[in-house]
Amino acid sequence: MQMLSNYQVSGCNAREEKGMDYFALTIAGLGGQGALVIGRLLAEAGMSKYNHVSYFPNYSAAMRGGESECTIILSNEEISSPAWLEPSSLILMGPAPLEEFEQRAKPGGLVMIDSSLVTKQVSRKDVEVFYIPASKTATELGDSRVANFVFLGAYLKATEAVSLELIEEALEKRLAGGKWDALLSLDKRALREGARLVERRQGVN
């Protein structure tokens, strides 16, 4: 079947969405990278800002290394469908084929890829692209496994869908009890670092 992007769809793009009340984000990665963790967290945090949120995970049977992705929608209007082929924002965490993936971005949408894993450039000219060295940044912070939080911080800086503080609150709730304190502080640093990467880029623009 051919790609479905050969028609125009109504709705606003990621950039116009900034500060508005509808966000649709798909995060794709490999099992173990934590795409679903940050997706669920975003939905949880979104509950205190938006009237409606939805979170839909889609994954293969393998727990490690299988493809997985999730779609999060934050909206003040009722959410009809929890899944769209072409959401307004896409984060590609893994080293999946970029040519296929970038086709799914809605014109005017946002695409984030891990520039430490994918060396190719996005060929689409009608989307806003963020090359985030998430894995490299996470490794420098002390653990490559927090690359997901680098992405989340970057996405939130770029869109302001919810504040970093709301995410941290949701994270604290989830990792309560002291046992996870080291992880919690690492996650938070990764989140802030991701935001800084986008901030720096915006400063250049």
Partner: protein, 362 residues
């Protein structure tokens, strides 16, 4: 308003069951419904209930049968292949007219299927009876976590009201998607019949030790006449469906469960572009909202059925409209697999595809 929590459809099933007063769960693990027994195994012991992980689905269904005979609110949950294994017991429960609830979180079949991913290929089995003996079960098709929560309460109510087995139908997408669910208690404002038949034990317990399921042995016609009348009462009073933006529609989508979610998204997009489309969503698959579908289809004049299967719901829709309105089908061939997600259930019928199909019909 009750408290709102972000939970997936599977957990909503568990919470809804406990809200309905269900304290007994017998189940055998199978993807994609494992979050239900996981939740029940954690929660039921804390409220004085019983969770049994059985040795097979056959055992689960007979334990449900036994629990129902004792007059308790009991349930099990499973997915397609496990549901098939329960059919003998389901037929027996139907014969004895025992109130119970079984949840089927569908996965693609036939056979072992896709090993736990989505699909809607159990429509015929749940609506027309997978077991023998011309029995009926009420089938509630949930299309959101909130509805999963609400439907469990409704299911136990209807089961007790009619002494019937109620099936709650979900699937991978509904089971695993999360949304804020309001933990509300539904009130049904009608008295339920006493369970004076329940085998609670004699003497101090004041109940019975045995009852005979003799109707069928003594007089098959009389037994079936009784069942026909009971089923007719249910058809007359329990049909449920939702219509969405179909007032001035020129094309009517008919869809249930997770496909109806995608269809609703497509209807919203199409409406935003000025296309006149609406959605009819059966909530009770049995009793099927036959007259309501017919009425809506005749008014609109053109129907598109959307279901993630080779075409099962479409048969009931065609039967309802009696050949007087064209009925099109977007089935499993409408799935699209984002590259890189080949293993994950091989595609979804995305709203964008439904939109494309609607355009070709308008």
């Amino acid at each position: 308003m009750g408290e709102k929590v972000l939970i997936d459809g599977n957990e909503a099933i568990g919470r809804g069951a406990i809200q309905a007063g269900c304290k007994y769960f017998f189940g055998y693990p199978i993807t994609p419904q494992n979050e239900i027994p996981e939740f029940m195994s954690r929660e039921l012991p804390q409220i004085g209930g019983v969770f049994v992980q059985t040795e097979s689905e056959t055992a689960s269904v007979y334990m449900v049968y036994g629990g129902a005979l004792a007059g308790a609110r009991v349930m099990t949950s499973t997915s397609s292949c496990g549901f098939s294994l329960m059919q003998e017991g389901i037929s027996y429960i139907a014969e004895a007219e025992m109130p119970a609830v079984i949840v089927n979180v569908m996965r693609m079949g036939p056979g072992i299927g896709t090993g736990g991913q989505h699909g809607q290929t159990d429509y015929r089995q749940v609506t027309k009876g997978g077991g023998h003996g011309a029995y009926r079960c009420i089938v509630l098709a949930s299309y959101s976590p909130q509805e999963c929560f609400d439907h469990m309460q409704l299911a136990f109510h209807l089961a007790d009201k009619y002494r019937i087995l109620v099936l709650v139908l979900s699937d991978f997408i509904i089971g695993r998607m999360a949304e804020p669910v309001e933990l509300r208690t539904l009130s049904f404002d009608e008295p339920l019949p006493q369970k004076d038949w329940a085998l609670t034990g004699k003497a101090k317990k004041g109940g019975m030790r045995r009852f005979y399921i003799s109707g069928l042995i003594m007089s098959p016609p009389a037994y079936h006449q009784h069942m026909i009348e009971k089923y007719q009462t249910i058809v007359d009073s329990e049909i449920r469906y939702e219509t969405y933006r179909d007032e001035d529609a020129e094309l009517l989508l008919v869809s249930y469960g997770s496909s109806a979610k995608m269809a609703k998204g497509a209807v919203d997009r199409a409406r935003a572009e000025g296309a006149k489309v609406g959605l009819f969503r059966p909530i009770t698959l049995w009793p099927f909202p036959e007259e309501a579908v017919r009425g809506a289809a005749y008014r609109v004049g053109k129907v598109l059925v959307v279901e993630d299967s080779p075409g099962e719901l479409v048969e009931d829709v065609k039967f309802a409209v009696q050949g007087r309105v064209p009925v099109h089908l977007l089935g499993i061939w409408g799935r699209y697999t984002p590259r890189g997600l080949m293993a994950a259930g091989s595609g979804i019928i995305y709203p964008e595809k439904i939109l494309q199909e609607m355009r070709s019909l308008l």
